[in-house]
Amino acid sequence: MLFDNYQPENFFDEMFTADGTTRPHYRSVAAALKDVDATEFRNKQAAVEASFMRGGVTFTVYSDSQGTERIFPFDCVPRVIAAEEWEIVEKGLIQRITALNLFLHDIYHDQKIIKDRVIPPQYVLSAKHFRREFMHIEVPKDIYVHICGSDLIRDKDGRYLVLEDNLRCPSGASYMLENRAALKRTFPELFKASGVHSVSNYPAELLKVMQYCAPNNFKSNDAPNCVLLTPGVYNSAYFEHAFLARQMGIPIVEGRDLVVRDFKVYMRTTAGLVRVDVIYRRIDDDFLDPSVFRPDSLLGVPGLVNAYRAGNVSLANSIGTGVADDKVVYYFVPHMIKYYLGEDPILPNVDTYLASEPQDCAHILANLDKLVVKSANEAGGYGMLMGPWASKAEIEEFRKLIEENPRNFIAQNPISLSRHPTLAGEQFEGRHIDLRPYILYGEKIVVTPGGLTRVALKKGSLVVNSSQGGGSKDTWVLRNKIPE
């Protein structure tokens, strides 16, 4: 059947060991898929895709004047994470966000970590997203990163590594929820006997975080007024904004719906102006307030930053968190964990070289054809050089870019990402995957069990981004440990 010719090859396969044995935590999925043939499986997949189309779980292809809408391709074989593995991942993520949050507080206050020479000052002060204007501003409950999505990968030994942190406006949580709902509808038999952790609490937890982080001077018996601020319907993630707002039952607002008076934020309603207390903003810092940041931003709200500084409104995430997901600063996260928590990192970084360190730089330039080079502030798989697969011209182009501005580049050894059975034609074949878990920081830190597994659908490809041929899978965390 579908697994007949399956080969883990020379990779770490999530489902099978090197000798082809099913890993214990995949046994129930394997059993449920045993008798499914390609036609049936494809029909299920088509049913999921039709339901996504119907529900408008789509993104718009900008380059197309017809406004063609595409769905984010979905593969029905779930990615399963064993209970004991998840325990470690969860602890590691909590440790990491705790340290990152302490780092942000420190950087915007006393900068002890710089004074103690753990991180050279130039790296922080030159970071593109460092916001000097926010020095010594207090944020409610001292929480900077309310919502975090860190990308995890597994290497050839199955070790979980952190590839990058997303501390600004991480997206994709809606796909995590929609994928689960879709798979439950089309493949209910898969879930039986597996004991899968639910992910459906995410919106409720997110709302709790927002309410917990109401401004310090907010005093009322009513719950604070929370809103989600979106760039608008033409943003490619608008579906997610509307989805989350609906799930939380809060208004979704655009910049033009808000107005600031006397350092307070109001929304313009049919009943006049109504006060806003907490904003889950899905607009980057640069576009948030044209009176402080980019004056040409039409998406933002003039005066919002003043209101925020005055402590009359809370923002999730806070302003200036991008300094901590700069890829050069990423290099120092294990040092931060040691410095602030006195602990060893539970989830290691991928080995990284900094082009701005002369020794590393020499190594990078001598090995451009073997390394992966990344710009410090790009996301979505852009601004990257995949050395082993790149042309001579591309390599020379990056050599020039690195020599011109070494601060803007890091390099990593290519990681042979773990693979997962995925439908390819009539059979399952191994495809590379990663994992984006979602971490919420409020009264306590909550990691939603699972997250978004992205899969590179093209054979051999290591790029999982949706803009470049990636798809996604439902991600399961098992409730119970499965005996060997």
């Binding site: 529900g55 719950a223 007024n225 809060i250 033009r256 049919t270 009943a271 109504v274 004056p295 005066g303």
Partner: protein, 357 residues
């Protein structure tokens, strides 16, 4: 009258369920209007394609005389002739149904309804959204040839069906809050307007000879008007009589038990406008409300005979003006905030910040 601006305490802290952004109210209103417009267009085209079947072979000239009034009634005649040379069944059908250049084509209306729904995706039920989304993909995946070959009635019935499904789902899944009032107000406003245009279309259709008035062709055309409004059977039940011009006018304007009649729609508009403005029933507080109330009241003291004497077309034109003025009044009062002057706002907040330092 001079009052200081409201302080923080004076600005009510509404519970979130009571809060509706003006922009959201506007999107719900337009979503509803566009869908109702699409439904009425589908009715119009369908019925006219069918009338032509009754005529057998028709000359090019008759064909033109038949279709041009329809283009005129939707107000898109000039756009049409920018795109086509000849007005015949196929070109008009394509223009009214599929052309994106025509802002009032079925495709444009359904897209606009869906775009507005997308703006308020968080406010409407998933089922409402899915119907609009289905309707959109349905029309996106069709084209003039397939509709022509596959039987146009099936196609237009499906559009009507989507609209009816949407209305039913709205009634059964949407909370009876302010948003509901905007949806209903928009629907009845659009329907009232389209009912006047349906009747007006007949005014534009020239009969072959003066003596044809009251003849078979005339009756067939009035029957088509009734059919466009799903009103043939209710009419027959009501009058148990032949289709007569004066009775059709009376029925479509005054029969307030029939949900597509002008009177029914105007009454509903009045009711929902009272709810939206929080004005007690029977009272009229703003200029806009008073003007519409007066118009509606006058209509109650009018009958079909008066209207025919005065001229049906003149009457319908006046109604269209009143409907549009009342819609405008509600829109500017509740749904529209003039955009902020960004440059002035930026300057204002920068100065305020400096004063703080």
């Amino acid at each position: 009258m001079s009052k200081t601006p409201p302080t923080q305490e004076e600005v009510a802290r509404h519970k979130q369920t009571n809060v509706m952004l003006s922009r959201v109210a506007g999107s719900l209103y337009w979503m509803s209007r566009y869908l109702e417009r699409a439904e009425n267009l589908a009715r119009l085209v369908d019925v006219n394609l069918q009338i032509l079947l009754d005529f057998g072979q028709v000359s090019d000239e008759t064909m033109k005389e038949h279709w041009i009034p329809i283009l005129r009634s939707t107000g898109d005649e000039s756009t049409f002739f920018q795109l086509y040379e000849v007005a015949d069944s196929e070109s008009v059908m394509e223009f009214v149904t599929f052309r994106p250049e025509n802002p009032n084509s079925l495709l444009s209306c359904i897209s606009s309804a869906r775009e507005n729904a997308r703006q308020v995706r968080d406010q409407i039920s998933s089922e409402m959204w899915e119907v609009l989304n289905d309707a959109y993909h349905f029309i996106k995946n069709s084209n003039a040839e397939t509709v022509w070959d596959g039987g146009s009635s099936t196609f237009y019935d499906q559009i009507k069906y989507y609209s009816h499904l949407f209305q039913g789902i709205t009634v059964s899944t949407f909370s009876r809050n302010e948003g509901f009032e905007f949806i209903q107000f928009g629907k009845y406003l659009e329907r009232a307007d389209k009912t006047t245009r349906l009747m007006d279309m007949k005014y534009h259709i020239l009969l072959p000879k003066v003596t044809d008035v009251g003849g078979a062709v005339d009756a067939a055309q009035w029957q088509a008007v009734l059919r466009s409004a799903s009103a043939v059977e209710p009419y027959r039940r009501f009058y148990v009589a032949d289709i007569l011009f004066s009775k059709v006018i009376e029925f479509l304007i005054f029969e307030d038990t029939f949900p597509r009649s002008l009177m029914f729609c105007l009454e509903q508009m009045d009711d929902f406008a009272h709810l939206i403005a929080d004005t007690p029933a029977g009272e009229y507080r703003s200029d806009g409300e008073r003007r519409f109330g007066k118009f509606l009241n006058n209509l109650h003291f009018t009958n079909a005979k008066d209207i025919i004497q005065r001229g049906v077309h003149e009457f319908l034109t006046e109604v269209q003006i009143e409907i549009s003025a009342f819609g405008e009044h509600l829109y500017t009062t509740f749904m529209y905030h003039p955009p902020v002057d960004m440059q002035a706002e930026i300057l204002f907040h920068q100065q305020q910040e400096q004063q703080q330092q």
